[in-house]
């Protein structure tokens, strides 16, 4: 087994892991919809979004080390993803709520990174164009479900409410992106402000209510970035890593 990477300093490696793990874990969650989506078009859409995220993850994890070792051989506590992205799919509305929260964040984050000239600018400039479609997809579905039937409205609201407490963690600064090296950093309070304005506008237009609860759980915000994860993440990893661990070096 490889040595799990447990970075202690905000190096480019730790930063790449945080962003790469977000993309990898959400990609896997979206992939779980294969064979289960409500209609064929959505099956394809969610798989395509998952593929975009997997592409980002491969680039980012390769900056941090060997992509396969990092994806398949790390233990739960070595993953640096947000707790939001590891949350189970739930019903379709909950998946869309997760997509709305995360794609809005990622679009803003990559937009800021793309305008600088740091290590992550080339990837961000490329991926931000793809993520704009993810965000559009999530927004259109939020509108359709929220302003749909009583049942879809209720489910969409439930999804937004249930995941709200995981959104605070997104605005905890990720080390290495503060522009300390003079490459133009992420302005986190501005990112949070833009995110809140953007997400609130969509939720209100969808005749839904912006959740009012705390944006952090009972534990300290930023726990995912420190390797602390929620209960379902271990089971997700077990499935994701099972093949590679059972058959080391297996290839198609």
């Amino acid at each position: 087994m490889s040595t799990p990477l447990t970075p202690t300093a905000p190096t480019a490696t730790a930063t790449a892991l945080a962003l790469g793990d977000d993309a990898l874990v959400l990609s896997h969650r979206l992939g779980e919809w294969a064979g289960h989506a409500p209609v064929l078009e959505e099956e394809v859409a969610l798989a395509n979004i998952a593929l975009d995220l997997l592409g980002q993850a491969r680039v980012l994890l390769s900056l941090a080390g060997d992509e396969d070792e990092l994806a398949y051989l790390r233990e739960e506590r070595a993953f640096r993803n947000l707790q939001l992205v590891e949350q189970p799919n739930g019903d379709f509305a909950r998946t869309i709520a997760r997509q709305l929260y995360f794609s809005t964040y990622q679009n803003l984050l990559y937009g800021q990174l793309a305008s600088g000239d740091g290590t992550f600018a080339p990837l961000a400039a490329k991926a931000v164009k793809e993520v704009a479609y993810h965000q559009d997809h999530a927004e259109q579905w939020t509108l359709r479900l929220g302003d749909g039937t009583a049942e879809s409205h209720e489910r969409m609201q439930r999804g937004l409410d249930a995941l709200w407490r995981f959104t605070g963690e997104m605005f905890q600064p990720v080390g290495g992106l503060d522009g300390a090296d003079g490459t133009g950093g992420v302005v986190w309070p501005a990112l949070r402000e833009s995110w809140t304005a953007s997400v609130s506008a969509v939720i209100e237009k969808a005749t839904l209510t912006v959740p009012t609860g705390p944006q952090e759980g009972a534990w300290a915000a930023g726990a995912g970035r420190q390797g602390l994860h929620t209960e379902s993440f271990g089971r997700m990893l077990a499935e994701m890593q099972h093949l590679h661990r059972s058959h080391p070096g297996a290839s198609w």
Partner: protein, 168 residues
């Protein structure tokens, strides 16, 4: 970029490789070949950029380029993937667009059109022409189609569904 006659010839050869997923157009027409340099006798470096970050076709493209250049006598072919500057659908040539439409895929609109991914403020600007009957009265069925780079649309006039190479 290309300086010698040999490099020009090799670039043309690499550029003639068909796209693995859209075999009607070549890599040159798709605009994904970024550069080619001969480093010595039988040694050549090629720079390739992906359309989408996660595009699985990049591996096949790499293998196909290696093959045609080896067949031309280059023993050592190194294909490197570059991300920057990011590929855009504006990099597809006019000939490439024409071939896509002929194949039944509505080509991407140029980037002056607003939409997601273009920095424009309006999420959906509908004036994609049906590649079958030419009508501009078409509607979006899904933002993502058989591949990430395409959206699924339907023509309201002739009722045929079709793929649209969406703007990136």
């Amino acid at each position: 970029m290309v300086t010698t006659a040999l490099e020009e010839e090799l670039l043309a050869l690499a550029g003639s490789v068909p796209d693995p997923e859209l075999p009607v157009i070549t890599l040159a027409e798709l605009g994904v070949l970024r550069g080619l340099r001969v480093r010595g006798i039988g040694k050549v470096d090629v720079e390739l950029t992906p359309t989408y970050t996660g595009c699985p076709a990049i591996e096949t493209m790499t293998a196909d380029i290696e093959q045609v250049l080896r067949e031309r006598g280059m023993a050592e072919v190194s294909v490197r993937t570059v991300l920057s500057p990011a590929w855009s659908t504006d990099d597809i040539s006019a000939e490439g667009r024409r071939k896509l439409a002929e194949f039944g895929i509505a080509p991407p609109r140029p980037h002056s059109v607003d939409g997601p991914g273009t920095g424009g403020p309006i999420p959906l600007t509908l004036s994609v022409r049906c590649p079958h009957c030419g009508s501009t009265d078409t509607e979006l069925l899904s933002r993502f189609s058989s591949t990430a780079c395409k959206a699924l649309r339907r023509c309201v006039s002739c009722r045929e569904p079709f793929d649209h190479f969406k703007e990136l």
